[in-house]
Symmetry: C2
Subunit: 189 residues, 2 copies
């Protein structure tokens, strides 16, 4: 996330909120390629040097804004079983991430991220959602794979194909990944 | 790759070779952040406008150079069996892609790639190597998964973790992905 700790409610948090809002507004008005640090600073009513000091450059600011937008705002839906919960989540994850906006945010998050912390945060969002699903299933007494196994077999193939190999990627592929994982697990037991 | 067709031996191919060489030399001398289009043009003995016309901008040029460097220069080694061939290949793929140079090339390839063709080329390199291994195994009479299955279960998790979730990623993880795929396949039969 941002390069320094942010105390909620402090000046630092207000600056961050104003700058993030300015980016979102200006992007809607001018498009992604029209964004510059001076324009964002003017809209957010801060100086450009405040932005450079805090974010380093435009790419790092856009990476922070992208991660913020990629944060899930609800827990995964409860459909009453592991297979249906994970299938529904994988389809929705693919839908959101493979959309033009989703792709743009993933690119932004990766690009302005010299230390990898924003990419790590994106992955943590997905892993946390998966963990909610697995914990709920375990609570029902279902056998569950581990979070990292679901990351390898469902999250990773979807994200890899979105970035590198989009041909043929669709909801059926997402469903197939979940089915393959859960059947494979059953077969191993 | 580059934005226009390149006839081997023609002027276009000579310009591409000179510009790619200039990028590699200057990167070694100045580091990645010291690269500019005017410097590259001077070293390659072309005009900056030649570079802008052909590649659009520095990011797109660096993306093309990165893809060129990510191209495998040998076929996967033959160890006499599918499991050993795929395991050795996965370990080597991880080694190369997770190295500082590998990570930098993957980032460059993704970033200056508005139409996704360079990312697609990176994925095609990996799929082609996997295909060689699978074809060789089929020739020995071994049961083999499909290329896309290996992409989902081996290539994708490695690349996803390199970009998004590097903690704990090591050769043992790569071996485990291959073992899980081949055992899972056996269990389904």
């Amino acid at each position: 996330m941002s390069r320094q700790m942010v105390r909620p409610g402090g000046r630092s948090a207000r600056v961050q909120a104003a700058v993030h809002t300015a980016v979102r507004e200006l992007e809607a008005e001018l498009g992604r390629d029209g964004l510059t640090v001076p324009l964002i600073a003017q809209r957010a009513e801060v100086t450009p040097s405040t932005i450079y000091r805090r974010w380093g450059d435009l790419a790092q600011l856009l990476s922070d804004v992208a991660v913020e937008r990629l944060r899930p705002d609800t827990a995964p839906q409860d459909h009453g079983g592991l297979a249906s919960d994970l299938t529904a989540w994988a389809e929705q994850f693919l839908d959101e991430m493979a959309s033009p906006a989703g792709r743009a945010y993933i690119r932004d998050a990766l690009l302005g991220d010299p230390d990898g912390s924003n990419a790590g945060q994106c992955s943590a969002y997905a892993a946390d959602q998966v963990d909610v699903i697995l914990t709920r299933a375990a609570g029902r007494g279902e056998d569950t794979p581990g979070v990292e196994t679901v990351v390898d077999h469902v999250v990773a193939p979807l994200m890899y194909r979105i970035l590198f190999r989009p041909a043929g990627l669709d909801a059926a592929h997402a469903r197939g990944l979940v089915a393959g994982l859960l059947e494979g697990d059953a077969a191993e037991k």
